[in-house]
């Protein structure tokens, strides 16, 4: 940490998830929010996995980028790489933004803290509890509505699942992908496609009709919700991602987020993916254990969740927000970022830019 001319403290923050593609990572949005914090200035260290992650080349947002080893390389390799980066940059905080990398960062949290690098992450038990495979049981334990589901290890289990859950039937991968099947034949095809790509088990889930709503929330680890902002998806891509959305005023959704955070003592950012039925019942479809890609909307609505997470990570006092702007919208757009191929070569060959 060092002082700047405007007397705000200046923190060096590492951020992953720089892939601002059609199914974007949250990193660029997190950085944008951090740069708008009135409390502190930042030097942003991008942490990338692929040389074509657009955030690497957004120099107005990212001061320097280093490549990280893939999560499958394990914690020791990651720790060594982060140690090298820390020696050069003096990282104060790291905000990981990918589901797949979170377990490694959680396992390393205390060792990173010993180096002086702070994180603010859920525990491994919290990650496991809200995993898609366990979500139904999790909902029952905490009084949350979750669609009925069956875990399938063989395609011939589909018929019984469909008899129980009815059609249309949602066939989901354990990590990603979901297909709405209207017949057993469609369900079988989806099972084979999804199991080939994402492995077993495949999830057969009851179809719930309604409006898709997401809530971005921040828990302080003691059961307190510091922020919760609901957003209705107004435009949805063929990958199910929100391309436009609007903040909502709905106490039911805020209470749902608070109940989740209190019940789990959630530590860090999270996103509740909800389907609200015509009669107003909110079904939780998924709980993501990190900020969503639309997280900048929380800052635009008056609750800068990424900036608050930095304060939590640093042990600074952070009070819950009570207000946010309702009717604030985001409309995502694609932008052809131009760079020179020497930058691409630099990050590809040397792992930094």
């Amino acid at each position: 940490m060092s002082a700047t001319a405007d007397h705000r403290p200046r923190y060096v923050i590492g951020v992953t998830g720089l892939n601002a593609i059609d199914s974007p990572g949250p990193g660029v949005a997190v950085i944008r929010a951090l740069r708008e914090s009135p409390d502190f200035a930042v030097r942003i260290i991008g942490l990338s996995y692929e040389a074509l992650e657009p955030g690497i080349y957004m120099h107005e947002l990212v001061d320097k980028t280093y490549q990280l080893p893939y999560p499958s390389a394990g914690t020791q390799v990651l720790l060594e790489r982060l140690g090298e980066i820390h020696e050069r940059e003096g990282l104060d905080v790291i905000i990981p933004n990918f589901d797949a990398e979170l377990p490694n960062f959680v396992r390393l949290a205390s060792r990173l803290a010993a180096l002086g690098i702070r994180t603010f992450l859920p525990t491994l038990e919290q990650l496991e509890a809200r995993d898609k495979l366990n979500l139904r049981a999790f909902g029952e334990a905490h009084g949350l509505l979750v669609p009925r589901q069956r875990l399938l290890h063989r395609a011939d289990e589909l018929a019984a699942a469909a008899d129980e859950l009815g059609y249309p039937l949602v066939v989901k991968g354990r990590f990603y992908d979901a297909v709405v099947a209207h017949t057993l034949e469609q369900a079988r095809k989806a099972f084979h496609q999804i199991s080939a790509k994402w492995g077993l088990p495949v999830i057969a889930q009851e179809f719930v009709q309604g409006h898709e709503i997401n809530v971005a929330a921040l828990g302080d680890g003691t059961g307190r919700t510091l922020s919760a902002v609901p957003m209705r998806k107004l435009y949805i891509t063929d990958k199910g991602k929100a391309w436009a959305g609007i903040t909502l005023e709905d106490e039911t959704l805020l209470q749902l987020a608070r109940r989740f955070v209190a019940g789990t003592q959630w530590r860090g950012g999270c996103e509740l993916e909800i389907m609200r039925t015509a009669d107003g019942r909110p079904y939780i479809l998924e709980i993501n254990p990190r900020f969503p890609a639309w997280i900048y909307l929380t800052a635009a609505a008056g609750q800068n969740q990424p900036a608050a997470l930095v304060r939590l990570a640093l042990g600074l006092p952070t009070e819950p927000w009570t207000q946010y702007a309702v009717g604030r919208m985001f409309i995502r757009y694609a932008w052809d970022l131009i760079t020179d191929n020497h930058e691409f070569h630099q990050i590809s060959a040397f792992g930094e830019l």
Binding site: H211, L234, G245, I246, L248, E249, D250
Partner: protein, 79 residues
């Protein structure tokens, strides 16, 4: 009949339901009626005012009124 308290309306006919995120555009007459509803005027009051202000038969007004109420209810804008 009452509009939900949190429904936002503008003089230009824009309606926003902050609980659902839905937006609507109302025509000039519907906008006028919504403004009167927001002032807590009763349906009977509003109908009398419209009959005095516009060249419309009571039967036609009742039919149009019922259509509007059905749409407002359908879009969850009424208490």
């Amino acid at each position: 009949m009452k509009l939900k308290k949190n429904i936002a309306t503008s003089e230009t006919g824009f309606i926003f339901n902050p609980a659902t995120g839905d937006s609507f555009t109302a025509n000039a007459l519907a906008t006028e009626i919504l403004q009167l509803l927001k002032q807590d005027r009763s349906p009977a009051d509003i109908k009398t005012l419209l009959l005095n202000r516009y060249d419309v038969e009571p039967n036609q007004l009742e039919k149009d009124w019922d259509d509007l109420v059905a749409q407002l209810r359908d879009h969850q804008l009424l208490d």
